[in-house]
Subunit: 328 residues, 2 copies
């Protein structure tokens, strides 16, 4: 009996979840729910069904876990509480500041329905959060650092695209090497926003556009760019397509701490990710937590959980005996 | 009410545990149990008692967790099952091949006594195991690599010391940079023992000893050195004391894997540790799991657990709300 999975929302993340399921023989994709016309949505899995999202609720006894692949801004705050009452669910809600509120809403719904929900799964929040937490528990005296990149920021790319005269754009977030070196050297630097990351934009301008004006508008844009050193490159549409069509990302979590009676010994814990595809890696983390959600639910658990609340063994298809013998 | 801790065995690890307790205000050291004459054992914590190990059992209702700081070869296989029946315990049993047997023995004892035991806690086994396991669950298609060092191997140092004509010695295990670079480049190399690590020995010879003979005996020693490229330096006793009295260690766990419908996307997960003091870092991990053992026991759990079986939040002194707000 394989774990029966549904996907709600079939964009980059939904497709990534579909691919991840294929790598896990104990799971199968049963249905994809879409807001588009199902006839227009071509999925990769021949044995799964594409349904309108309005029919999702009818599947509540057919699926073991429903993966919610919508966006954090407007989709998930509504969808996760709604479906957590009917299904075991996993989402990748990533608006860090609103996680407590989202947790409370989802928890109430999942408790009511007797289901297990896992929120904020992916790499940040997700694997980066786990590494921050473990490192803090192990080294209570120390400093935390998170660096993102080199990778594409969708939000910043969109912000550049909204500028008049910009046809298309891709923005990369890049850690500042000297800052990283100072952290690794145990200097515990206090780093400003500008000192931690630079931003690099590849912009396709419309013909006859004011390039200097666009560059200035990018570099002075509040919140998105004004606090960073930003480099702007104008390139052709062909170059953008050829060199910047991927969605790579990654980053590092570091904790630099001390031990000893007089804090005389230094330690550095570093976790890093280099990802060819941000959505596919996020999807792979989600699928491991879908297994956990299913098992917890089988054990009678209900309510909302995060990566902090789930014992690692629940993520693996291997038994406790196998894990102890092969990976401990 | 602080968590009351006992330490059994007061060597480098036991002293590290004592220091780690001081960094965690929700814990206090109550007693140290030693096989030596208690009058000869000077501990750092003024409020704790030093007792002969024969009296440990009398403390069974006075301690929340007993930390077993003996060696894996002969101490822990006897001590952990024995004390797991009476106390919640944590050990750092690190003979990987014998973990399944140790787990079974400790589990039976802890079940019988209604106590919680956590075995094989530290960084390898321990944090490295966790990272291997998470990375395998997330990227089921990929290759695992563990590198150790640069750091002092106690076992290899001891092996060199046993050679006739050797007064003292320190052995460092060092990852081969080119092998690490190939892994990071996603080449998924198959690496022999020799290709992964080199060994570097600093040897103080007795006066008039046959240096060439010692060097040859080291380099051809089965299991310890014969399968590695080994460099031997003869130094003075003063140099050894000045430059090699620390116990640094560390290493890296990497998983290189693929995602996508045709496995066309590559990802690299890397976890690394750089530790000034191997025993103090191990002790810091142990103390976080001591908190977990105490809490699990309070919840009514019993039996043997490993790092795979314990939800991360149990390690932290922070509440779930605090963790979600600050570290997720």
């Amino acid at each position: 009996m394989r774990i029966k999975i549904g996907i709600l929302g079939y964009g980059n993340l939904g497709r990534g979840v579909e691919c991840a399921i294929r790598q896990n023989p104990d799971m199968e994709l049963k249905a994809v729910f879409t807001r588009r016309n199902p006839a227009d949505v071509a999925i990769l899995t021949e044995t799964a069904t594409v349904c309108p999202v309005s029919e999702a609720e009818k599947w509540k006894d057919e699926l073991d876990v429903l993966i919610l692949c919508g966006g954090s801004a407007t989709d998930l705050p509504v969808q996760t509480p709604r479906y957590a009452e009917l299904f075991n669910v996993v989402d990748s809600f990533d608006t860090h500041a609103k996680i407590p509120e989202h947790f409370a809403n989802v928890d109430a719904a999942a408790q009511k329905g007797g289901r297990t929900a896992v929120i904020s799964v992916g790499w940040d929040p997700g694997m980066f959060s786990l590494n921050r937490m473990y490192a803090n528990a192990i080294l209570p005296e120390g400093s935390d650092y998170t660096f993102w990149g080199r990778g594409v920021s969708q939000g910043h790319s969109d912000a550049v695209r909204r500028i008049a005269g910009v046809k298309d754009a891709r923005q990369y977030t890049i850690p500042v090497e000297s800052a990283l070196a100072a952290v690794r050297a145990g200097e515990n630097p206090e780093l400003s926003t500008r000192q931690k990351h630079t931003r690099e934009c590849f912009v396709v301008a419309e013909e006859g556009a004011d390039l200097a004006g666009i560059e200035k508008e990018i570099k002075t844009m509040p919140n998105y760019f004004a606090d960073y050193d930003t480099v702007v490159h104008f390139i052709s549409e062909e170059e953008l397509k050829r060199d910047h069509s991927g969605i790579p990302h990654g980053g590092l979590v570091l904790r630099s701490g001390t031990t000893g009676w007089e804090n005389e010994k230094r330690h550095l814990i570093e976790y890093s990710l280099k990802l060819d595809s941000n959505p596919e890696f996020t999807a792979s983390v989600i699928i491991a937590y879908a297994r956990a959600a299913y098992r917890l639910s089988q054990e009678g658990a209900s309510g909302c959980k995060t990566v902090f609340d789930i014992a690692p063994a629940y993520l693996s298809a291997k038994s406790g005996e196998e894990l102890r013998a092969s990976l401990l």
